[in-house]
Amino acid sequence: MRPAGTRHLPFGAALRDAGLAALIAAGLFLPMVGLRTDVDPNGALYLRTRWTDVLLLMAIVFAGRFLMRLWQEWKAGRQGPSLGKRFAGPLSRSGRLAAPALLLFAVLLPAIPGIGRYELDLGILVLTYVMLGWGLNIVVGLAGLLDLGYVAFYAVGAYSYALLAQNFGLSFWVCLPLAGILAAFWGVLLGFPVLRLRGDYLAIVTLGFGEIIRLVLLNWVSLTGGPNGIAGIPRPTFFGLSFSLGGGPGTFAGFFGLEPSPTHRVVFLYYLILALALLTNWVTLRLRRQPLGRAWEAMREDEIACRSLGINITVTKLTAFALGAMFGGFAGAFFATRQAFISPESFTFIESAIILAIVVLGGLGSQLGVAIAALVLIGGFEVFRDLQEWRMLVFGGAMVLIMIWKPRGLVGSRTPSVALGERRTISAAMVAEGRG
């Protein structure tokens, strides 16, 4: 092997590879982009061809693939540690700072000048997904149970609050724990039939479960209003003080002698979801250091070994489902009170997929990674809103890039829950998976 740097790059192989990629792209884009049906001025359908667009796309794929190959070869040729390893040190160091910095930013956000209603609403949305991501992380990241129907618990929480508040006049603070308990109950109910399932089979059943819940909500018109949803859900109160704009003594503004403003409620909702998300995080971090959390992780690593050690797999799985579902339920109740209107349309499979994408992109089991992924994914959706249909393309591209550079997620390492002396994180890439 020649010393680093002088090794010439295999242009030929890279060209062949890029050519192949361009051909595959041609196969995909010729029918999808190249042919388009349009309506001519006479109202008749005709086939429009867009060969230049196809050629352009092929050229992009060719160049991208070519450069990627060269970059990979160049990196492999250098004898130094891989990119991942060189970044591992600074990343984990900055990681220690990133979490408090993000937290501080989240707490101070409403006070930052220039932050208006729009930014706060976006913050609430991001935090909702952070919370959902952390909740699902218990099931998928820690316990290793692939759940594709997580949105079902979000829906159960939302409808629980909406129905309890509307039919029995219960306040948000009474309904919040009830929504969590009901969602946890459904989590256990889902958990029982899937106790013996793993991997793909579990994923399919949870996917079906999510759809069942949505279809029941859609069709049980007498209870849920069906596709019309539930409107006029009571808004939350600040210890009994409403956020209405009347300014009377029973309102928040009136009580504190403030100028009535719609921002008060938004700020309150923002801090409410921040507190709920932090509660999820705190419980997860606490449990990871407890025997139960350790059993979840051990079950993710090797279920048979857990059995042989006398770990009660039934209890371990059901608690993971129940706790993950409970936080999903809390988030659902929050969603209902924030929107004041819910319908089955908010709880489609794409929601489950987004939450799962947040957990996976964040690095399974990593709390900070999940938070960053939620920020990037949900925040990114907003930032690129102007791009309209290009948005999905940007996200597809971003996911491909993450697959290339960080195949184990943004934060793909795990800190031991019990540390002796210094805490060392070990990159997941250095450990073989699934084998003892």
Binding site: P291, R294, E297, A298, D302, G310, V418, G436
Partner: protein, 238 residues
């Protein structure tokens, strides 16, 4: 001979319609090392798993310390004093050595501190590797960890499933020495399943030969080593 710590009476176990164990009986007295040798697929591992109730015996009884544990759930059996080091080691690769050991003590709910001290005396290597990810250990170290993890439950009966599997001869000798020391110093009862018949029979007080789900021979380790059938089938002839 004192009352056996473990008695297996005419146990039959099925995987679906396949009868993996066909009426196996054996006893293990307190303080004994008993080994079960046999070829691939003879049912050795199945027997150990059946003792732990997973899969459950379809016929026959498993009696531990005078109690019928045939129908007990697995976690109850393990809590009752039987610990198993499973075949293929099966350590938790992304958890640290320390966390792996804690998992061993978890189901019985006992204080892990004395157990940690004991296993670190037995396997000083694990002490050095305590903060390391179990998946980064060598095969021999992983086997030590698997045994140590089982010992954390402070069992009265230790079930070892092929501890020498895939290990260099020198390393497997170390493992066998550790088992002997453990038995001699603490009087721990061991039921050992092995393909490495030579080493296993030298170590064990008594042994059983399992052939396609049936016990065909039994005797002291030395007796079995001298039997021509055993020599031919498991010790490579000569």
């Amino acid at each position: 001979m004192s009352a056996p710590l473990l008695e297996i009476r005419d146990v039959s176990t099925f995987y679906g319609a396949v009868e993996a164990l066909k009426g196996v009986s054996l006893t293990v007295a307190p303080g004994e090392i008993v080994t079960l040798i046999g070829a691939n697929g003879a049912g050795k591992s199945t027997l150990l798993m059946t003792i732990c109730g997973d899969p459950r015996a379809r016929a026959g009884r498993v009696i531990f310390d005078g109690q019928d544990i045939t129908e007990q759930p697995t976690h109850r059996i393990v809590r009752g004093g039987i610990a198993q080091s499973p075949e293929g080691r099966r350590v938790f690769p992304r958890m640290s050595v320390h966390e792996n050991l804690l998992m061993g003590a978890q189901s019985s709910g006992i204080n892990p501190a004395p157990g940690l001290e004991q296993v670190f005396t037995l396997f000083p290597r694990l002490k050095e590797r305590e903060a390391q990810r179990a998946g980064t250990l060598s095969g021999g170290e992983q086997q030590m960890l698997a045994i140590a993890r089982a010992l954390m439950a402070q069992p009265r009966l230790l079930l070892l499933d092929e501890p020498s599997l895939g290990l260099a001869p020198l390393v497997s000798r170390q493992i066998f020495q550790a088992i002997r020391r453990l038995n001699a110093e603490t009087g721990l009862t061991v039921l050992l399943v092995e393909q490495n018949a030579n080493q296993a029979l030298r170590l064990a007080h008594r042994g059983y030969v399992l052939v396609t789900g049936r016990i065909t021979l039994s005797g002291t380790g030395r007796e079995l080593l001298a039997r021509p059938e055993v020599r031919d089938a498991y010790l490579g002839g000569h």
